[in-house]
């Protein structure tokens, strides 16, 4: 099977999993998920996945740890978030920082 077909299969499978999880919430009796450990763990899993993605997408290329223009770009994003900037401003500021630093040769 070609990589292109594999990607399509992964898209359809992941979409099915995501839809099934949404539907599950609408179908299960409320008390099934009432255990506070479930809510706490689900919230922390979200935090962990997002934080890991921030780390990996800022500091790695392939299997290597790399420090490049993405690091100052992320610092700018954090500064914008601390100033309560809207989401789109945070993203554009980070991209703009990296683009400018690369144009300057970093």
């Amino acid at each position: 099977m070609s990589p292109y077909t594999m990607t399509w299969l992964a898209i359809l499978a992941a979409a099915a999993v995501c839809f099934a999880l949404k539907l599950l919430g609408h179908l299960v009796p409320e008390h099934w998920l009432a255990d506070p450990r479930v809510a706490r763990t689900a919230a922390l899993v979200t935090v962990a996945l997002l934080a890991a993605l921030v780390g990996v997408q800022t500091l790695t290329t392939g299997h290597h740890l790399v420090v490049d223009a993405r690091v100052p770009a992320l610092a700018v994003a954090a500064g914008a978030l601390a100033l309560r900037a809207p989401f789109i401003v945070v993203v554009v500021a980070a991209a703009g920082t990296a683009a400018v630093l690369r144009a300057l040769g970093m």
């Binding site: 919430g25 934080a51 993405r70 920082t97 690369r102």
Partner: protein, 249 residues
């Protein structure tokens, strides 16, 4: 963002609809960056559009293309997207009794159960405004998110090297903005901050030695240990969407 109720709008439906439309436009614009990043990660326009139509959960979609783009296995991408989408189950549990739907409408409600629709719906004061807020936000974000994803994918296709425009820095910035509102607060915020730091360090430490996609999944294990053993109180926003903050799909 708070619902402003005018004297002529005593059931709050008008305010809920206005709030829904502004959230839809703001979130939709962010779809441009998803579309551009997805083609930069190596997916084509049709695959990118399919993700927004069928998966329709921003965090899961960004994670999926991040892992595929890094050369990760399909199974790792599916597992990460699913784990990030698990919070939508908790939103569904909250919304189902408020919506009172059945049959195909329930399936449609499930598909548009995301951070934004749950946040706007549960922020309303009356049952009819809750339903209006949920449906207008869910369907509004769906329309805008898909239209702007397509636009971003077509633009991204013609841009060339994504690094030149800093698009590779836009993705981690987007994830940072998604996690940011969850790290605030006292004791609960401390647990979340500890988990975030530990997760990022675990993922970085594993990157040189395991296949792509696995480091991020391993980080989830950190959270399961912390959450299940109760090493701290429930983090801010446990089981409910953040009330303010930039927190797209």
């Amino acid at each position: 963002m708070c619902a402003v109720t005018s004297p002529r709008d005593d059931d709050g439906v008008g305010a809920a609809v206005r709030q829904a439309l502004s959230v839809s436009v703001a979130t939709g614009l962010y779809g441009v960056s998803f579309g551009a990043l997805s083609v930069a990660a190596g997916l084509d326009v049709a695959q990118t559009a399919a993700l927004s139509l069928l998966m329709f959960s921003g965090g899961s979609q960004f994670a999926f293309i991040g892992i595929i783009g890094a050369g990760g296995a399909g199974a790792a991408a599916i597992a990460t997207a699913g784990l990030l989408g698990a919070r939508n189950s908790l939103y569904g549990v909250r919304m189902a009794p408020l919506l009172g739907t059945a049959g195909w409408r329930r399936a449609l409600a499930a598909h548009v159960t995301i951070d934004e629709s749950t946040a706007v719906g549960t922020a309303q004061a009356t049952p009819v405004a809750t339903r209006a807020g949920f449906w207008w936000t869910g369907l509004g974000v769906f329309a805008a998110w898909n239209a702007f994803t397509l636009l971003g994918a077509l633009l991204g296709d013609s841009l060339g090297d994504p690094g030149k425009y800093g698009l590779d820095a836009a993705a981690p910035a987007a994830f940072l903005a998604l996690v940011w509102p969850r790290l605030r607060g006292g004791r609960a915020g401390r647990t979340a901050r500890f988990t975030a730091l530990a997760a990022a360090l675990v993922a970085l430490a594993l990157t040189p030695v395991v296949p792509a996609g696995i480091p991020v999944l391993a980080a989830a294990a950190v959270a399961i240990v912390v959450g299940w053993t109760g090493a701290g109180a429930a983090p801010a926003g446990a089981g409910r969407p953040g009330p303010g903050g930039p927190e797209p799909t």
